[in-house]
């Protein structure tokens, strides 16, 4: 095999300009795919991180049917203490769960004593909420990065519109499950930067304050947000936790809980899917580039070396060896392009990172792009190029191995 590789490399170097052009084309394709995959992948991961870690959570569990009616924030579909207790028990049995946070979601009226407007609120346990959505404290642009009883975190658009500042007293009026109205004073403890996606413009109060406002004797939970230790195991946990939850039935024999990953709760998932599709499309383009360019070179190589093929066939070279010679030639060309492309692509990604390119996502600005070249991507792109190079060389290689030596030797 060493000798075949040596002959293949020398044959490639025989037509330096053509080899260089083809290798450059393959290299450019690999660079483009690698840089695009790294930037798009990192952008996607960053956005998913922003969405799940700043408000949504990676997984949410509700009472069955709640999500279908989530726009109304129906208090009658909250989990009763007993159901929540069972849910907590099941969640605690999951070793992959890093943190979880129960929430009471409700709508109310927000008043600064001069004006009144609508507000959507989450009643949360601050310590557990900050552990489950760790980017939430970072969204507090003014005020303490904490939430104590009697305090309220309000979205910045509301703060601006209602001319409310940190330290001001406001009133929240809410209707409870039985229809009675109750009001409670809160002190604005912080202003929240808006985030793109569901829940991105909600306010936050302490869960005990929410229960008091809604006159719950014990907190009735609208949803439980979950953060995993390893986001990569999302679907495995979804399956396992989903199976455990589906065993829990209500008195009517129907499922008590429903589980959703962030993908089913955020419209950004469609954009993420589009990015994945675009990456796939770019990879298909790479396949086309490698296939066409290497096949072209190898067809030319066979055509130009007909007499040589005739000679080696005449002196007894087995057809399989002739085939291997051309396959290895195509493989070497692809391999060179893949290696050069990987190196150049990685350097470009490092330059992009060093440039600290920032971008905006919804109302979030100044997000720094941190593109990452992942080893699986390097391996995948290299594997695509190598496999396609071999495929592209198959037809010319078979053509060469099937040549009649007598005809090949006569070729002019």
């Amino acid at each position: 095999m060493g000798k075949i590789i040596k002959i293949a490399v020398r044959n490639l170097l025989r037509y330096k300009r053509r080899t260089l052009l083809t290798a450059t084309l393959v290299t450019l394709g690999v660079v483009f795919v690698l840089v695009f995959t790294s930037i798009a992948g990192s952008f996607k991961q960053m956005m998913i991180g922003q969405i799940t870690d700043s408000m949504l959570g990676q997984i949410q569990v509700h009472r069955h049917g709640y999500v279908a009616a989530i726009e109304n924030l129906p208090l009658n579909m909250n989990l009763k203490p007993q159901a929540y207790g069972r849910l907590e028990e099941i969640i605690r049995q999951q070793p992959e769960v890093a943190a979880y946070s129960p929430r009471i979601k409700f709508g109310g009226m927000f008043s600064n004593f001069a004006e009144t407007t609508n507000i959507r609120l989450n009643g949360v346990d601050p310590a557990r909420e900050f552990a489950t959505v760790p980017l939430l404290p970072g969204r507090i642009t003014s005020g303490a990065k904490a939430l104590d009883r009697g305090g309220i975190l309000i979205p910045e658009l509301l703060a601006k519109g209602m001319n409310v500042k940190v330290g001001d007293t406001v009133v929240i009026v809410a209707t409870n499950q039985s229809g009675s109205v109750n009001g409670k004073q809160f002190k604005v403890s912080g202003v929240l930067e808006s985030a793109t996606g569901p829940g991105g413009r909600d306010g936050y109060v302490h869960i005990d304050d929410a229960a008091e406002l809604l006159r719950m004797e014990q907190p009735e939970i609208s949803e439980v947000a979950i953060k995993l230790k390893d986001f990569g195991r999302l679907h495995r946990v979804e399956k396992r936790l989903g199976a455990a939850l589906s065993a829990e039935l209500n008195p009517m024999g129907k499922p008590l809980f429903e589980l959703h990953t962030w993908e089913k709760l955020s419209p950004f998932f469609s954009i993420a899917k589009m990015l994945t599709l675009l990456t796939l499309f770019i990879k298909v383009m790479l396949i086309a580039i490698v296939l066409v360019s290497i096949m072209n070179v190898m067809v030319m190589a066979v055509y130009e070396r007909v007499r040589e093929i005739g000679t080696i066939a005449a002196i007894g070279t087995p057809p399989a060896t002739i085939r291997a010679m051309f396959l290895v030639e195509g493989l070497c060309l692809g391999l060179f392009g893949a290696i050069a492309g990987n190196v150049i692509g990685t350097v470009i990604v490092l330059i992009v990172n060093a440039s600290r390119i920032s971008f905006e996502f919804g109302r979030q600005s100044g997000l720094i792009l941190k593109a990452q070249v992942s080893p699986p991507d390097l391996v995948a792109v290299s594997a695509i190029v190598v496999v396609v190079s071999i495929l592209a060389s198959l037809q010319p290689a078979f053509k060469a191995s099937r040549m009649e030596p007598i005809k090949a030797l006569r070729h002019v």
Partner: protein, 233 residues
């Protein structure tokens, strides 16, 4: 028993409805370690006959035995295997591989066809290069040596596998007379040294006389055989 035995060998080429009979039932026998030439004008069937003997083509009729094997029915892979084991080729245009050095060209059949171990390969290649006087040029590429030198390398390549038979189609056609005479002399010397049968075709009257047995072909028929009494042993 002869190295080559041809019995009523015919070769017909078909192009559409046209049939051309290149060989019209030729019969002959070539003894081991002989130095044989097929002569005749262009189109007389010399190359066709050498192609058949070299298993590069199959006869349309008749029986052709080379080195004890009936080669009339050998398939592609079997033919390649047989050529690699029994036959050496010397081509009119030398046909050295341009990406290989002189040493590597001679080594090629041992490495890619016979899979001979490195030490044995090296010993044989150096011995052959020494025998054809190309040892000092062993690291040069074909485009760095003359036509005569190329043909000497081709002779070494044909002999390196120690074949029973070496076929040379017009081996001196692209050489000047002096170089042609040197190459023929070299082939004879190799025959004497390695006891290999040499069969070559030519229509060059200047070297015809170098052969010890001359078969004359005309219009696909063997019209005469002359023995010039040269030493073949």
């Amino acid at each position: 028993m002869g190295v080559v035995i041809a019995e009523h060998v015919r070769k017909i080429y078909r192009a559409g409805e046209t049939e051309v009979e290149a060989l019209r039932g030729v019969s002959f026998e070539i003894a081991a370690a002989s130095f044989v030439s097929f002569v005749g004008p262009s189109g007389s069937g010399k190359t066709t006959l050498l192609n058949l003997i070299g298993c590069l083509d199959t006869p349309s009729a008749g029986r052709l035995t080379v080195c004890g094997t009936d080669v009339s029915t050998l398939g592609r892979s079997a033919g390649a295997g047989f050529r690699g084991q029994e036959i050496g080729f010397i081509f009119q245009d030398f046909n050295l591989l341009p990406v290989l050095t002189v040493y590597e060209n001679v080594e090629y059949p041992l490495l890619m066809v016979r899979k001979t171990p490195e030490a044995q390969r090296r010993e044989r290649v150096l011995r052959l290069l020494d025998a054809v006087g190309m040892l000092e040029q062993k690291d040069k590429y074909p485009d760095q040596i003359s036509g005569g030198q190329k043909q000497r390398v081709a002779v070494a390549r044909a002999l390196v596998t120690e074949p029973k038979l070496v076929l040379a189609d017009e081996p001196t056609a692209n050489l000047d007379h002096a170089t042609a005479a040197l190459v023929i002399a070299l082939m004879k010397r190799m025959r004497d040294q390695f006891r290999t049968t040499f069969v070559f075709s030519t229509h060059d009257p200047r070297i015809v006389g170098e052969a010890e047995i001359i078969h004359t072909l005309e219009d696909g028929e063997l019209t005469g055989s002359t023995s010039q009494g040269g030493a073949n042993g």
